[in-house]
Symmetry: C2
Subunit: 450 residues, 2 copies
């Protein structure tokens, strides 16, 4: 029999997270406050507990995973690594294709890796209530379950249009005991302002972040939790890449190229950063972030200081951005509809230590369906982006005869995204391009920082 | 760390299926034709290939799993066995609770175990086209994927009401390349008859079976495939129990009681039959089939010869039945809405080698939500039936102080059943009882067999 899955035992769950900051050639850029000065930890205490802030600022290479978090991870980890024998045969490629499958988490994606860690640290800090936002619902689902596991009440501001379009993601969060609100709401000043302008506002991730942050900042009993972008979130996701390396090692393989979808950056950072450590030690693995052509922050954005949310309530970070007021088209990969990118991913890209490629929506579903028919698993729209890039590379290998080893992050299943597949089969999915004028116009509106 | 999952490697996937017929104290009752005489293999050749018929009739204890089927099973097997530490703690029970999780299959349930075997045997017999029926969609999804894997075209007659209510199950089948029709259709004589009486017929599993059988019987290039009830289907599912035994053995455990949902019987037979072999060899494990109070074929039905479908097109089998014209209430456990039960399960129940219990709908969702909040995984409504019975037993253990070891089949996830959870939270789920008069009236309408 051909081996399909490379498994690890629970005692092989990583004992430490890997912090890429320790291996970056230059120190990470500092986040800035509204005055253009580096922010202090004290400025973050309104919304985050001290243990999280400490982790966010850390430059320590290895950070121990608390025993209770490792125990929580046993609920679904280690995640299997698959060899895509059937897909390779269908393509007729000499490339070897491997994928790490994070859809085995009960919440359906990699997001739960950071959710359990954040819930743990908040509980340790005495916090009993968290707010957060969610778009497509992957992050909200994950924090709902993690809150249930660690005894923390969770309130989720869910982008109104998603709340209406994806009622079953909402049902899932409620099953795990979380409170879910359609954002904008009348509960926050910012929500009321938006609703006064447009009582039927569809909402946006930016608005939902602003509401969740505003509530956390104004209540002593409540903190805020974010599902991507920040250093500590990317840190928690490195269990993905650390496990994948161990799994490949067991069968004597090492990738030539690593691919992952890239929105805020935790999906990509989680798989890729541990391989970047190898490059720092002399290896030469190519690390490719895959983003939508409709939201091309890395491939076409400006490298500049910008806000993390649309309302301008967060600190400024140096990032690739399309402008914090950018409204991404309604592609189905909701997890990639973000105007900017993590400061760490942005800096690594700027310093040419990683690569990026943008792919159009319809081609990602072509790839997702081809994958599902060969490998069985129906991928989330975000994951379809990585698959598209891998198929393109595998077909290049077919043309050139190169037997490259390719690895990608199958970050989640598409069980709550079947409406998107329906539209694809009905020929109703669109590709969006982002006009050059809009990119240039955004530059004008970026916050001015000396 | 406490061990949560007991895993097996791919080479530990069973090499043989276990045929319970070999260990039954009495030979299985023979299926009868319309003339009341035992049917011959020749009578089944209109709809099944010879290799499947041979398996259906076999009394051989161990039947080798073909290498290509084992290879196909590596797509998701071995399935993990979980120890429900968090659920035990939440209940405060001294019982040890284990569950075999079949929701790891890409189709989301145990049904794929038989689908790949049936697709393989049909392809070996030169068949390139299969018809089948599906209610909730678990079986249709599984055969759609298996057909894609073995190069067989699949046409699925999906019960009309489910086709309308569960559009995403349909999308899933289409993603794997199957053709899905809302039954009744105008394509079959039986479908046209039903539509002439009621153009808006919601359909039923009985009608859909009749349409699929009629088409297969009338086309030389097409055979028929069934997802439960028949001996060969239950045989294919025994990989569940065989793996579970091996997993428990690895940690030195053995169950006092085994629970599984029971509709047609493949869910229950798959987990329980391999333990029945141990009872035949002197062990005393209690095997409990769990059914809905709204469709109580084992606990309240008649042990009599009856048809497998509503239209009376199938052979007659000796089974526990509520009458083949019984229309089960619209509970959300669509996989358990069946008037009868497998002949093997029925005979074992009649001979008191297994037990059965019926549980009401709302209580199954109480149990499912409690399970999801402790263990993370959101269970399918069918699986919630087993969970209800396990919780009841675990609470009895709490009262008595007995540290029993309980095992159940978590046969699938509930990702396509969230509408049912919504109704539960909205207080809109109903319990149905089955009136005694109706049970007695059904006896009058059973086919007369000497």
């Amino acid at each position: 029999m051909q081996q399909t899955k490379i498994l690890l035992d629970e005692h092989e769950i990583p004992t430490h997270w890997y912090n890429v900051v320790a291996d970056m050639p230059n120190p990470p850029s500092a986040p800035l406050g509204p005055d253009g000065q580096p922010i202090s930890p004290a400025m973050m205490q309104a919304i985050f507990p001290d243990n999280i802030i400490e982790q966010e600022m850390s430059a320590q290479r290895w950070i121990e995973i608390p025993a209770e978090v490792r125990q929580a991870l046993t609920m679904w980890r280690p995640a299997p690594l698959f060899r895509a024998h059937r897909l390779e045969a269908a393509l007729g490629t000499p490339a070897k294709i491997f994928y790490k499958y994070e859809g085995v988490s009960p919440a359906g994606s990699h997001k739960l890796n950071s959710a359990v860690a954040q819930a743990y640290y908040n509980r340790e800090a005495g916090i009993r209530r968290l707010t957060t936002e969610t778009g497509a619902g992957q992050w909200g689902s994950s924090l709902a379950l993690a809150g249930q596991m660690f005894g923390i009440d969770i309130r989720i501001y869910m982008v109104n249009v998603s709340y209406q379009q994806k009622p079953f993601r909402r049902s899932m969060m409620q099953t795990w005991g979380a409170e879910v609100l359609a954002s904008p709401t009348h509960l926050t000043e910012f929500g009321r302002k938006i609703l006064a302008e447009d009582p039927n506002s569809p909402g946006s991730l930016g608005i939902a972040i602003s509401e969740a942050v505003e509530e956390a900042a104004s209540r002593a009993d409540t903190k805020y939790s974010l599902g991507s972008v920040l250093n500590h979130v990317l840190l928690h996701q490195t269990v993905i890449g650390l496990e994948a390396k161990k799994q490949l090692e067991k069968i004597g393989e090492y990738p030539d190229m690593v691919f992952a979808p890239c929105g805020g950056g935790s999906n990509f950072g989680g798989l890729a950063f541990p391989f970047l450590a190898d490059n720092a030690a002399g290896k030469k693995v190519r690390l490719v972030a895959v983003e939508p052509t409709s939201c091309p922050s890395l491939t076409r954005g400006h490298y500049a200081y910008d806000f993390g949310d649309s309302a301008g309530m967060t600190p400024l970070t140096l990032q690739y951005t399309l402008g914090h007021d950018f409204m991404p088209p309604s592609i189905h990969a909701g997890g990639l509809r973000y105007h900017g990118a993590s400061a760490l991913v942005s800096q690594l890209y700027h310093e040419k230590l990683i690569e990026a490629v943008a792919v159009p929506q319809v081609a990602t579903f072509d790839a997702g369906v081809q994958f599902a028919r060969a490998e069985g698993i129906i991928p989330a729209p975000e994951s379809c982006h990585a698959i598209r890039a891998v198929l393109d590379e595998a077909l290049r290998c077919k043309a050139s005869g190169e037997p490259k080893t390719l690895l990608f992050n199958l970050s989640g299943h598409g069980h709550f995204d079947m409406a998107a597949y329906d539209k694809y089969f009905a020929g109703k999915l669109e590709d969006y391009d982002y006009p050059q004028e809009a990119i240039e116009a955004a530059l004008e509106r970026l916050p001015k920082v000396k």
